[in-house]
């Protein structure tokens, strides 16, 4: 099997990974390798985009910095300390490293409600990303729902793409969002902009304290047992009020949740933050995880937005190179971003009432079609897996895991290798401890 050896391996070429690479090289590190499963750097926010000034600035720093980028390459296993297995198309690769920086970002949190499995019900960032990839939104009626500042950013971008945004439904209570808004006035940055974007969404209602109740299809059915795509969504404010809004797309996600598959695989400690309904990698002041030589930066240490990701990436890049003195001046600013991120994550944590959204027949695990009634009485994630295959399908629990952690209070921590659906051949080619090279 082909092999790459590097001094510092960075997983993820989003803002955190790019900042880590630039800083490591700047502090004198040689042989820095950045690995990302996408063809281009930029992560979820900057991929293929250059009109944002911060994005341009970091792309211009990253591209010539001397770090090598392995695109379209996914890390699928960590068979032993210092070794990763990667897949690049049909090829398999062994990567050996001295220091590792995890900058794997976040993904959207999905919560099940009747009809959420229908075609054209997508994530909020999910629909935005698909639209950036060529899905036409011109003239389409879109309802944006769920939680978090991302709903506003996504609605704004889709509106500019020609979508007719019918409504933005934010599950967080109005007073909680307002409190965060007041805090924002004193803190310049991307997130403040996100809330102000609302003003530009001319005529689009922003309903706080509202969430989706069910999706109906064009065939008049509701629930998960029909092929008909979404035709309307019913929203509620929890009280007696309901509104049904016809739409072509429902873009719905409940804030973000850190991607921890690799952290778990490597044995890094993670912590569950109850008030944020979020599990994140535990790091110290230098972005060091609990595992020797493994650092973590960006959304995988807790959702915090692009500015937090950049500064954490810089600290991790310096620290992994042994240049703590360069990182030290950044620590205070990082802590300020973190405090703000904590407040944001508390504001947009799903309200407990959302646990009541699934009906007995609502699908919880989309890969295996496991329904709420099949798992609600199970005492643990493991028991649900054993008895129903819940979380054992193609996504390996990455979609239902976050929902299960919220709905049932099980710990969804169970990233068994491989971390991504992988080809059997890759596993057969696992290097043993003493075997090197091809």
């Amino acid at each position: 099997m082909p092999e790459r050896t590097c001094r510092i391996a960075i997983i993820g070429a989003g803002p955190a990974g790019m900042a880590a690479a630039v800083s490591a090289v700047e502090a004198g590190a040689e042989n820095v390798l950045v690995i990302d499963d996408n063809p281009r750097p930029g992560g979820q926010i900057w991929r293929g985009e250059t009109d944002d000034a911060t994005a341009r600035e970091w792309m211009q720093k990253f591209e010539p910095c001397g770090a090598a980028l392995l695109g379209q390459t996914r890390i699928v296993a960590a068979p032993q300390p210092g070794v990763l297995l990667a897949e690049n198309g049909a090829k398999t690769l062994t990567i050996r490293y001295e220091k590792l920086i995890l900058a794997t970002g976040a993904s959207e949190r999905f919560l099940p409600f009747p009809g959420w499995t229908r075609p054209n019900v997508m994530g909020a960032g999910g629909l935005q990303t698909l639209a950036k990839g060529g899905l036409p939104l011109e003239g389409k009626r879109v309802v944006v729902a769920g939680s978090g500042p991302l709903l506003l950013a996504v609605a704004d971008e889709m509106w500019h793409m020609g979508a007719r945004i019918k409504c933005i439904a934010e599950q967080a209570a109005p007073n909680a969002v307002m409190r965060l808004g007041l805090r924002l006035l004193g803190s310049p940055g991307k997130l403040a902009q996100a809330v102000q974007l609302k003003l530009r969404l001319f005529g689009v209602p922003y309903r706080m304290g509202w969430h989706p109740l069910q999706v109906d299809g064009a065939d008049g059915t509701s629930g998960d047992d029909s092929d008909a795509p979404v035709a309307s969504v019913t929203l509620t404010n929890g009280a007696a009020k309901r509104i049904q809004i016809p739409c072509d797309y429902l873009a719905c996600a409940f804030h973000l949740t850190p991607r921890l598959e690799l952290a778990h695989l490597l044995g890094c400690d993670t912590e569950w933050i109850e008030r944020q309904c979020q599990r994140r990698t535990t790091v110290d002041a230098w972005q060091r995880s609990s595992v020797e030589g493994v650092y973590c930066a960006g959304e995988s240490t807790g959702v915090g937005g692009v500015d937090a990701a950049l500064i954490e990436g810089r600290i991790a890049g310096y620290a992994a190179t042994g240049a703590q003195d360069r990182a030290r001046p950044l620590l205070k600013q990082r802590d300020a971003w973190r405090r703000f991120a904590d407040a944001m994550n508390e504001t947009f944590a799903p309200r407990p009432e959302l646990r009541m959204l699934p009906e007995p027949r609502t699908i919880i695990c989309r890969c295996e079609d496991v329904r709420y009634e099949q798992v609600v009485a199970k005492e643990s994630w493991r028991a649900a897996k054993l008895h129903t295959r819940h979380g054992m399908g193609a996504c390996q629990g990455r979609i239902c895991g976050g929902a299960a952690e919220f709905l049932f209070d099980w710990s969804a921590r169970s990233s068994r290798p491989p971390v991504c659906p992988t080809r059997m051949k890759t596993l057969a080619e696992r290097p043993s401890a003493d075997q090197k090279g091809d």
């Binding site: 996408n38 990303t129 899905l135 989309r366 399908g393 193609a394």
Partner: protein, 91 residues
């Protein structure tokens, strides 16, 4: 090259030809063809893309004969043949 830019890239979705812009993903091409079902779930229900970022596996389609490819992570290439579960169910 200039031609490909102007006319887009030609792909087939479930046997129907359409032209898509450069940098279009296979998942977006399916939507452009007016198709909403990518795959069928284990119980046989229609599913389409959810996450847009390679995590959920709901956008799987057959690309140039290769089964279970993630449409959202695959860029369209001239001549690419994309098949969704809709074809299988019509047959």
């Amino acid at each position: 090259m200039a031609d490909a830019k102007r006319n887009g890239i030609k792909v087939w979705v479930n046997g129907a030809e359409l032209s898509v812009p450069p940098d279009c993903t296979a998942a977006a091409a399916v939507a452009r063809a007016g198709v909403t079902m990518h795959r069928r779930s284990v119980e046989g229900h229609a599913r389409g893309p959810l996450c847009g970022m390679g995590v959920c596996m709901e956008c799987r389609v057959t690309i140039n004969g290769e089964l279970h490819q993630r449409g959202c992570q695959t860029l369209c290439m001239d001549g690419m043949r994309i098949e969704t579960a809709e074809v299988a169910s019509d047959a």
